[in-house]
């Protein structure tokens, strides 16, 4: 049964909490179904996300009505939004009232509005298609990941189980809702009848911590960069009696930082759980059980309940020995159908059959814990976003910059023959919606190339 069809059983329990008040499950359902009432079953809608009540209400309403949402962030680059709009032709847009888009307004609720776009005569979508997420949302790729009702259910139940999410939990938002990790926290808490504290504020703002204390939040999630911030904020010295646990995903946490938080949280009698996942696997694939947080610092852990991890060598043969590096392969009911690059693709069936090649190179220790040691392809994780270096190069090229990209997680180095390095830096920060300090732009006389014209990235490392 689709994930939000059973919310009625939580009736009077508090579902959503904000600075301005809270609503119960009963109220959430009423509001969600009111949005659903304006939508046509099996239609496609853009859900423009922010961590506000309206966004969650609309999302729940869509899933309950079997409407397929495409999740995008309210701060999305305008060109990318237009591109997505023209490719996927949504019948509806659920968006913050001040968001710019085409279409006629149908109704308003909680700072959100529903628009009808006028697209018609659209191809049918696959029956089990539930949700569409962007792959990274960052490099302007309009490629979407196709998730089914079964994918979401399976992953949500698994997450609830290994994190032990009960009705008394209150997670506070620290990640965007259109990002699979942020969304999985919302889904698992609603499914458990727990509460979600919604805020647009960041760790770096006084208002966030005021709300944290007032609402007695019990958990939050963070990407590696979040943990650098928390370290700088002396988080492990903060007095937060309501906190139960914190989770980490969205890229590899440096071993020292992992260890510092694992030990610090343990000292406080609280849990620290490192996880591993991908949008292509709905959200989560692996986790380090809290009791192993210190002992297995630097690991991505073991497969989540219901899933299985395996390593494969270059010939496609399974590696059974520990200590040998191979590509990490995941099997489980949360492996999504595949990608979509056109509206017509939304009719496609399952292309992965429960098997995902992660593109991460990993090894297993003698206890069965996995460690990611590298990547098969050229991409970086920046502040939790997967950024494809080739795509960034193409964006720059299209706009007249000859440039090549290298780097490490959370920091990209762009080598260019163009003189306007600062303009390039501002341009790519604007396009990717990633803070400009993540980019260093270096001017060089010529891009190093081999005789056959291939870029010699190794000379730029």
């Amino acid at each position: 049964m689709p994930i939000f069809d059973q919310l009625e059983r939580y009736d009077g329990a508090v579902a959503l909490i904000t600075e301005n008040g809270e609503i119960t499950y009963k109220e959430l359902i009423e509001k969600a179904d009111m949005v659903g009432g304006f939508l046509a079953e099996r239609s496609l809608a853009f859900c423009v996300c922010s961590n506000r009540m309206g966004a969650v209400i609309g999302y729940v309403g869509m899933l309950r009505k079997r409407v397929v949402p495409v999740m995008v962030n309210f701060a999305i680059d305008k060109d990318l939004f237009a591109q997505l709009f023209n490719i996927y032709r949504p019948q509806f847009i659920w968006q913050p009232a001040d968001f710019e888009s085409e279409g006629g307004t149908l109704f308003h609720m909680d700072g959100y509005e529903l628009k009808k776009t006028g697209f018609s005569d659209l191809p049918k979508m696959a029956d089990d298609l539930a949700l569409l997420l962007t792959t990274s949302g960052s490099t302007g790729s309009p490629k979407l990941v196709r998730q089914t009702y079964e994918n979401i259910n399976a992953n949500t139940v698994s997450i609830m189980e290994y994190l032990g999410i009960e009705q008394s939990e209150r997670a506070i938002t620290t990640l965007p809702m259109n990002y699979t990790y942020g969304l999985s926290i919302i889904q698992s808490h609603l499914y458990a009848g727990a509460s979600i504290v919604l805020t647009e504020k960041s760790f770096m703002q006084r208002e966030f911590w005021n709300l944290f204390r007032k609402s007695e939040a019990t958990s939050f999630g963070g990407v590696p960069y979040t943990y650098e911030m928390l370290k700088r904020l002396h988080f492990l010295q903060m007095d937060l009696p309501s906190l139960h646990y914190i989770t980490q995903a969205g890229g590899k946490l440096e071993r020292d930082l992992h260890l510092e938080f694992a030990e610090g949280m343990r000292k406080m009698g609280k849990r620290f759980i490192v996880m591993y996942g991908a949008t292509e696997a709905t959200a989560r694939m692996a986790y380090v059980p809290a009791e192993f947080a210190v002992e297995k610092a630097g690991s991505i852990g073991i497969a989540i309940p219901g899933g299985r991890l395996e390593l494969q060598d270059e010939s496609g043969t399974q590696i059974t020995q520990s200590g040998i590096v191979g590509e990490l392969i995941y099997y489980g009911p949360n492996v999504t159908l595949g990608y979509a690059e056109s509206r017509e693709d939304l009719a496609n069936g399952d292309e992965r059959h429960g098997r995902l090649e992660t593109g991460d190179m990993a090894m297993r220790d003698a206890d069965g814990f996995f460690y990611v040691v590298g990547r098969k392809n050229r991409f970086l994780k920046i502040y939790g976003n997967r950024v494809n270096l080739m795509e960034v190069e193409q964006i720059l090229k299209k706009n007249g910059f000859e440039a090549v990209c290298v780097g490490k997680d959370d920091h990209m180095r762009i080598y260019t023959t163009n003189r306007e390095t600062e303009r390039l830096r501002d341009y790519i920060a604007e396009k990717t919606r990633i803070n400009r300090t993540a980019f260093t732009v270096i001017r060089i006389d010529a891009i190093p190339r081999s005789e056959s014209g291939k870029v010699l990235y190794s000379e730029l490392q």
Binding site: S202, Q205, R206, W209, R232, D426, A429
Partner: protein, 78 residues
């Protein structure tokens, strides 16, 4: 470089703004001054003046002027 110059330089370097734009500059007034930018600014100031901010000063530091007041708490006169 004077303390004020060092203080200003941290804003200019991290946010890509001009020195004359600094008076009145507040958190989220420019794209670059988001939570990531704030963390970078704090890191740059801590390095430049060899200080370590308290949690409260980091989360209350929400404008160019407010930051100046906090610098005094660490014996940095601007």
């Amino acid at each position: 470089m004077s303390n004020l110059e060092k203080y200003n330089q941290a804003f200019v370097d991290n946010f890509g703004v001009k020195e004359e734009d600094l008076p009145g500059l507040a958190y989220q007034a420019v794209d670059a001054w988001d939570s990531v930018g704030h963390m970078q600014l704090i890191a740059a100031l801590e390095d430049a003046f060899d200080i370590m901010f308290d949690t409260d000063d980091i989360i209350n530091f929400n404008s160019y002027e407010k930051g100046k007041e906090y610098m005094n708490n660490y014996g940095v006169e601007l």
